[in-house]
Symmetry: C2
């Protein structure tokens, strides 16, 4: 047989095998339809995550036996699972009301001329440090209006390194730092480099919706570790251990936490890092609220995590939400992957903004003042909440939120949020936006103390 005949024959076989795979997807779809019918007949729940877990194990084992790359097997499984759900007619879950949606809603109402007490948006009402405004404007008029390298201007990278050394006694190399266009993009790049389609990551509930949204965008699964108000929003290392699947690649931590304001003890943090190390998981630590912490808060830097990504931002500490600038710290290898993503998607952060950010890192008195004010707001909010018998809450250790929970078992946080907006002109974010918390809601402490106190009083009025 000539070598081109041989090649043609082999290619025909590849086409046949490919066809067979499509046929098996079709068979799988037929089974999915039968399963949907059986579920209806037996009144079984539509979704059962244990079924998915079992399939992940089947695929991982089969890939190992047959020498197929596990990532390939898991990616195909992810496509198959999505197709099964489509065929079974799964309704995509009712769109959650995230803080971002509440903010959009509030802006719409405000545009009609109605004044609101805004307790929804995670944005401090402090002003950015004067030095930041001056440096940004000076850079702008100095024509720092050009492309920069994807990592960020060397002066800002150095400033971040000095800051990490001063704050965390962590000595980073330039190659371990990247300046990014804000916390969300930092989280996206962290997830993209640590978790692939068909893999999974652990998130501690309640949490900022961006983690789950990011995982879903990538085609990866979020495995939630549920924590409760009764346990002080503390996750146990055991629960995290039990959540690990054969395709789990990362665990996302963020303390002080959004929306609860909880901080876990350094020893608990280290215990979780130990579990991550044992299972070769990347710890993604979102430390954006680290300057609003009123008890010791362990950083991932210096925690002994073997694989880690720190993401942070200038938004909260320095009230620079509208600057869209942050940074990530990780291994040279991971940062180098992030630089490729950043080059491809956004080129770089605006040059003059980077010059402004340098000054933020040198403005400790502003940070101290903001932090002190946030502490006062936590006290004021707690004092008000203490007077509302229908609610319970855990006093925040940090961050800029309180996450109270109604004592009433059938409380509907979404209905309450809408009624509160309508009748009292106060905006909050429903608990279901942060996980399985239908009785809870988030109060942001970003506004003035007066706004917070007035807003919480109106919440109390509606509850009595």
């Amino acid at each position: 047989m000539s070598s081109d005949q041989e090649l043609a024959g082999l290619r025909q076989e590849v086409a046949d095998v490919t066809k067979e795979i499509i046929d098996l997807i079709s068979t799988r779809n037929d089974l999915a339809k039968k399963i949907a019918a059986a579920k209806v007949k037996g009144s079984f729940p539509a979704e059962d995550s244990r079924v998915e877990d079992a399939l992940v194990r089947v695929v991982v084992r089969e890939c190992e036996e047959k020498g197929v790359d596990k990532q390939v097997g898991l990616k195909v499984l992810s496509t198959l699972l999505a197709e099964s759900k489509r065929v079974q007619g799964f309704q995509s879950k009712q769109a959650l009301i995230t803080p971002m949606m509440m903010s959009a809603k509030a802006q719409q109402v405000e545009a009609t001329g109605r004044q609101l007490l805004r307790l929804d948006v995670g944005e401090p009402n402090f002003h950015p440090p004067k030095a930041v405004l001056d440096a940004t404007s000076e850079a702008l008029y100095g024509f720092k209006t050009h492309y920069t390298g994807a990592r960020g201007i060397p002066e800002l990278v150095s400033a971040v390194r000095r800051y990490l050394d001063r704050k965390h006694q962590f000595v980073a190399k330039d190659s371990e730092v990247i300046v990014n266009p804000g916390g969300r993009f930092g989280v996206y790049m962290a997830l993209s480099t640590a978790v692939k389609e068909g893999e999974s990551a652990i998130v501690i509930e309640p949490n900022w919706p961006a983690y789950k949204e990011g995982l879903q965008y990538i085609g990866a699964r979020a495995i939630s570790v549920h924590t409760t108000l009764e346990e002080g929003w503390q996750p146990s290392a055991d629960a995290i251990h039990d959540a690990i699947r054969p395709n789990t690649k990362a665990i996302i931590l963020s303390y002080p936490a959004n929306p609860t304001g909880a901080i876990i003890s350094p020893s608990k943090f280290m215990e979780i890092v130990g579990v991550a190390n044992d299972h070769k998981l990347t710890v993604i630590s979102d430390e954006i609220y680290t300057d609003y912490a009123y008890k010791p808060c362990q950083s991932i830097l210096g925690s002994g995590a073997e694989k880690f990504i720190l993401t942070s931002s200038f938004s909260k500490t320095w009230a620079m939400t509208g600057f869209r600038v942050g940074y990530s710290v990780s291994s040279e290898e991971t940062i180098s992957k992030m630089m490729k993503i950043q080059s491809l998607l956004v080129t770089c952060v605006p040059e003059f903004i980077q010059y402004g950010a340098i000054k933020a890192l040198d403005s400790d008195p502003d940070v101290a003042k903001n932090s002190e004010q946030m502490k006062e707001r936590i006290e004021a909010a707690s004092h008000e909440l203490d007077g509302i018998a229908a609610l319970q809450y855990v006093k925040p250790d940090g961050a800029m939120y309180v996450f109270p929970q109604a004592k009433k078992a059938d409380f509907d946080c979404v209905g309450f949020t809408m009624k509160l907006l309508e009748e009292k002109g106060v905006t909050i974010s429903p608990g279901t936006g942060f996980g399985d918390y239908p009785r809870a809601f988030r109060i942001s402490l970003g506004g003035s103390e007066e706004t917070i106190v007035q807003g919480i009083r109106k919440i109390g009025e509606l509850l009595t």
Copy 2:
């Protein structure tokens, strides 16, 4: 049989079918290895895009016959093709030297103190309009430093609409516009909404590398329509027609073109739009250089394209590269998808920058001045190139580049680029970064006329 037994049985069947699919991937991998061996034996080329085309047809046909969602089949095929290539030991193509890489390289050299004549970077050396600097700074000091909606501030969206009406007599609704953080992100969002993993899009070569990079990032295939200097860099509608595969979803146009400066005639543009309409393709039109056009240049707006996305940016016309701000125009449905992606990945464009951008849209005299200067640079560059016998080129109709080509058949653009940097201190971008153009290179006209003239003279010196 009880309904839970029935369910358990069906789930076992699903697991078995899933296992079979993994086994078939393993079989496919074995075949891929045999194919690799047969290729070596018969000295066949490693990659053959016709084989991939044939498989796409097999999968599409089989999906249609068996009622499997085509997108699912194509996505699985895309995973299988990548795995086959890995198993066959395909070397990923030698990393191309893109303009962005040349710019990074040039910055490294400059950091050592060496002065360079920079003809690499696609960045005009004009200053942003004074009104833009003032408005940006004023907004900054006015504490326009907050989150905005994902679409952009209403004032900028309105300004874009007025601009489109004035420039293209196109009446857009607010819901058809989104402000984005620059051209790259605009292109990424356009590709993401128009093309899915396993699908394909047509690009006209030579082109800005971001299109192919973006498609690759999504897991989609770029089908190149090669154009030549001899044909004046004009693609034929027939060639585009022939490039359409059963999984082709979009065609990317960008005129005036980077790197050639070519503009296609309005009638040719309309002909291509007609082909796209016939095949229900989305036309993605990157119109970033539209103000550097020295003969009539058709916009996608008003072209009759049934599905289209316009992307543009403030970077080139107003010399605002370092602001990272642009905009896209499309159907309400597509823009709404983009808003989801933008909310998830970057939240919004910095607020005070959006205020600056409004003023750019009102600065026609600056645009006219920049455009006039760019025309002079094209004339000056052409005059210099006319004196270099070893090169041929097509005089640009617009944009801010020239793309000359060596007459010598075995010219190596990468080697020449490196030698030029080393020996003459001039930076250009090799032609291979833009497609299959080993004899060509891109000269940017972003620098001063003196830089351009001196740089081209040194190119001439090295060539003789």
